[in-house]
Symmetry: C2
Subunit: 321 residues, 2 copies
């Protein structure tokens, strides 16, 4: 992904420095956990979209840095809280905060990161849209997470349930990132709304490919074990497709619905999913969102960033990590 | 406490209705957990302070209701996250969300409540102080919680550590409640700053008496088992005083520092704390904060609410639940 961010390399560096600055805390354990999270890496997709979005209207780096930082903080907070939930012990190849510090600290660290983002958002007094969009997105992200937990191991979910869930869990914050960078620079609706829709579709495609990678990826590239969604009972698009092919009483449904699976059972389920064309089907759906994302770009001014965002969309469809 | 809120009974009812309205969610588990929390009760101290504060300057109920609701939501969020942490199974005599739904749901429910509060706070575009004060308070509340966890079972804490911790964990949000009701109605600094300081001192006294009650209260009145702080390793003012009397190598330090205590050991530690004058000493400190709180009231206009706030401060010093 980094190659795609070349155009904003220096700006992203400024965001990174500010992230580290913001997370300096009085209490050592806070700085320690925060630095652990920052050093674990991440694509910084949301800050990049803030910066790219801002390029479409009177770009002002100083104006968008706090916003870019706050979006990454909200994302980090959701990852930390996610780790409390799913008990996964690695993310991006590094031990999670939960694995190192436990549930209690993780819960508060997540909220700390989230609260820190609010301090930054409070600076956008002159763009009330920022706090409106981000508070709404935060509520819906939680709803998506809760839906995910309460529907885990439920083999009766359908495509609509899945799309609703990932739009909340993932696409909303990516949409907000693409929209608010421009909005914070004063862009009119005619600019920030297409950017928002671009972000939404990109986010949907992003999550779908993420879910495909959990079925087919090379573990060393992914940085976490393949099949972790299945183990946790998270039923993703390829699995929903495969279930619809194999029927709710078939072997796959039996395996997927089982709360405690052996490693052999996980591998068997993955194999059934791979063998029934679910991966191609899911890529097809992802590609539709990518097409939609690129179509939104046509509403935007023809600046070089427009092509970059088009390439970013294409990249999401072929990424391997 | 309710007797003290008679003056604002109808307004508090309006807050309660709005709380229920706001927490209606699309997803049943969210409504269910939220209603569970609301029905568990609570003193609604923060909404009451918002309303009372607003009485000092062009009181406007419609203007302060979202604020009152958002302060209760932040408080509820912190309780839910607290329960993830301390594994306590009852609060106010009712099973906690954590006890019923587990850690994973609790983490997201807490964040959901917090995020809901942001949606309400976003309405105060014309009073940027609201989001500034509340985002700052939220960060510091997390810091307080994290400090509490990482200093648990540590018998070397002193009075200063304790006061710093409770000012963040408790007093800040109470201070914000007292301040922001007036500020949202347009009150000048000369009014909302004394209210803030009143709230801070009231909050300190409130937490200290809470900590005393955990040593001496009647369990049926308190709604949770006595000694729960000691069990969790939270070292409160009476214990700090008792430790300073008994020395860091005494029997009390041995008991307090022990992570797994038998019920007999908890009772023995409580007895040592009660026997050395720690309770009277702690009441004395609480009383100092109450005096300070009441002194701040002298800076405010002489309206009937001023006497009510004075009585509220006195009440905190003698409460039994």
């Amino acid at each position: 992904m980094l190659e795609l961010f070349k155009e904003i390399k220096d700006d992203l560096l400024a965001v990174e420095i500010e992230l580290r600055e913001v997370l300096q805390a009085q209490y050592p354990i806070l700085t320690e956990t925060s630095m652990h999270l920052l050093n674990a890496g991440g694509k910084r997709l949301r800050p990049a979209l803030v910066l790219y979005g801002a390029k479409f209207y009177q770009f002002n780096l100083e104006k968008v840095i706090p916003l870019a930082v706050s979006l990454e903080l909200i994302h980090m907070a959701s990852l930390v809280h996610d780790d409390v939930v799913d008990a996964s012990m690695t993310r991006r190849g590094t031990p999670t905060v939960k694995a190192v510090w436990g549930n209690s600290i993780s819960t508060h660290i997540g909220t700390f990161l989230f609260a820190k983002s609010l301090v930054l958002i409070a600076k956008y007094e002159d763009t009330p849209l920022v706090s409106k969009v981000l508070s709404d997105a935060s509520v819906k992200m939680c709803e998506g997470e809760i839906q995910q937990i309460s529907s885990s191991f439920d083999v009766h979910q359908n495509l609509k349930d899945y799309l609703y869930r990932i739009s909340r869990k993932t696409a909303l914050l990516i949409a907000a990132s693409a929209q608010l960078g421009a909005a914070a620079c004063g862009a009119p609706r005619g600019i920030h709304l297409p950017l928002r829709r671009y972000g939404h579709n990109l986010g949907m495609a992003f999550q779908i490919t993420d879910d495909i990678l959990d079925i087919v990826a090379d573990q060393s590239q992914l940085g976490k074990p393949v099949g972790s969604d299945l183990r946790q009972g998270i039923i993703t698009l390829p699995v929903i497709y495969a279930l619809s092919r194999c029927g709710p009483r078939g072997r796959l449904a039996e395996l997927v619905g089982k709360v405690e699976k052996s490693e052999e059972e996980v591998q068997e389920a993955l194999q059934i999913v791979r063998d029934c064309g679910a991966v191609n089907y899911s890529f097809e759906i992802a590609r539709k969102y990518i097409t939609k994302a690129k179509r939104e770009l046509n509403c935007l001014p023809r600046i070089p960033t427009r092509s970059t965002l088009g390439m970013a969309a294409d990249f999401v469809g072929i990424r391997k990590f």
